[in-house]
Symmetry: C2
Subunit: 251 residues, 2 copies
DNA sequence: TTATTTATGTACCGTCTCGCATAAAATGGG
DNA sequence: CCCATTTTATGCGAGACGGTACATAAATAA
């Protein structure tokens, strides 16, 4: 956590260094959010307790960032949406950029969890593919003010170019999806669902890029039916193994 | 947040209504940019001449918008980069949002022109595909401060959700690319470069989504060689006609 | 109880934001 | 030559921006 920005005498890092693993204990709290007062650890911390649950506050912040992006979302917007006054917000999550990074990680956990069920090895290849794209459509089209799209794609388009740390998270997210798709296809080959000479990288590319094009088009309010056509083509193509990858090129 | 519409008494539209086709005459100037003083129309307008060329000023503005996006680019940034003080800038292009839209149209003309050579009917399908992706890589990886990516993808991720007019331009750009690819493939079929039972929509999707995934990854500093691999796969796939589209699905 | 620790709410800082009012400068028309 | 027209530069102003002091409130430890 080098974080070159920020002037001297930054308090939040000092707090982390002083209280040690306090943040870890808080982060261990499950997102189930059963009751507002019932925290995870039986040991109560020393001072005045927080009036908010960090998990749900982060989710609220994420909503705002997903709607407008980093630059267009002000701390006032965030403070209002999270129900936390700015000084508390700053004390709990650091400055705006820190909050953005934490919200992004929250997104990765949340959406990663939604996609995880689609990659369940108990499913057939086709079942997995159907769920992957069904989840993608649900995630990308949801939103009170309009389709929120894919946060990784949004962030790649805005902050990833100039900010190395944010870029790192984007690259990690992209690589994670590629890897999951590759593993899924290799498992399908091992099971005999796809022929052993399948061009895995081609199928990974077709499926992954279909997700990206869906994310982009969703943000522009492309009707769900149109996106489903794109998804259907990718699913059928992958599940057919690329329709004879061993066929000789025609020219 | 994208700032509603603009209050009453907006001057730039009034000026357009008064001076009539002034903007059209300026817009008709070729982008060749031969000399700074030699304007398009031989008739000089009445008042004090402009100290800048609208075309190159728009190009400068576009550079800034492509680097940081709409919200993160201030009018001071734009004013400095264009070499135009804010009031002149406002008088010539309207407010920030108007300037963004005009810069976007400039981008569409410029990049559309670069891609146009790739869609020359005199080229073979493979030659066209090679040029399309070579152009995409050049355009998306260029930039003094980092890879600028695809402006349409960037704008889809940021402003397109909440601003209908910007969204319209994004949708037009997306549809334009799809249409050009479709036409290219249909021509290839008519010439016998691809079999008549080729699944055109599948190939359009694979090529178009490859462009999108390249644009996204480029913004995150993915090495050019990695992007070339993606391009290569899309090119070979399309030029092989999808490797037997008529093959029966395996399951 | 008292001390300590942590979080909260108000209020504020300096800076930047966008847009515009104003007046000077540069051209063509009469 | 003077006027009309258009663009230029200076600079202002109301508000939003990110970030922070400060005093207060609420909890635990001694």
């Amino acid at each position: 956590m080098v974080q070159k920005r920020k002037g001297p005498s930054s308090r939040p890092p000092a707090k982390e260094a002083a209280s040690g693993h306090a943040d870890v204990a808080v982060a261990a709290a499950e997102a189930t959010a059963a009751g507002p007062e019932q925290s995870s650890a039986p040991v109560r911390k020393r001072g005045r307790p927080r009036a908010f649950t960090p998990e749900v506050a982060l989710a609220r912040a994420l909503d705002r960032f997903r709607d407008g992006g980093y630059a267009a979302t002000s701390l006032d917007d965030l403070s209002a949406a999270m129900g936390i006054n700015r000084p508390s917000l700053y004390g709990a999550f650091g400055d705006k950029r820190d909050l953005f990074l934490k919200a992004y990680e929250h997104y990765r956990d949340e959406v990663g969890g939604q996609f995880a069920t689609a990659f369940d090895p108990a499913l057939t290849l086709r079942q997995s593919m159907e769920r992957i794209f069904a989840t993608a459509l649900d995630v990308y089209l949801a939103g009170d003010n309009g389709p929120r799209g894919c946060f990784t794609v949004m962030t790649a388009g805005s902050e990833a170019m100039a900010d190395p740390e944010i870029r790192g998270t984007v690259l990690r997210a992209l690589a994670s999806t590629d890897k999951a798709l590759r593993k899924l296809l290799e498992l399908a080959i091992a099971r005999g669902e796809l022929p052993s000479d399948t061009d895995v990288e081609l199928l990974v590319q077709v499926a992954g890029s279909a997700i990206h094009t869906i994310a982009i088009r969703a943000r522009a309010w492309t009707p769900r039916a149109d996106l489903e056509v794109i998804a259907r083509r990718a699913i059928d193509f992958v599940c057919s193994g690329g329709a004879a990858a061993s066929a000789a090129p025609r020219r």
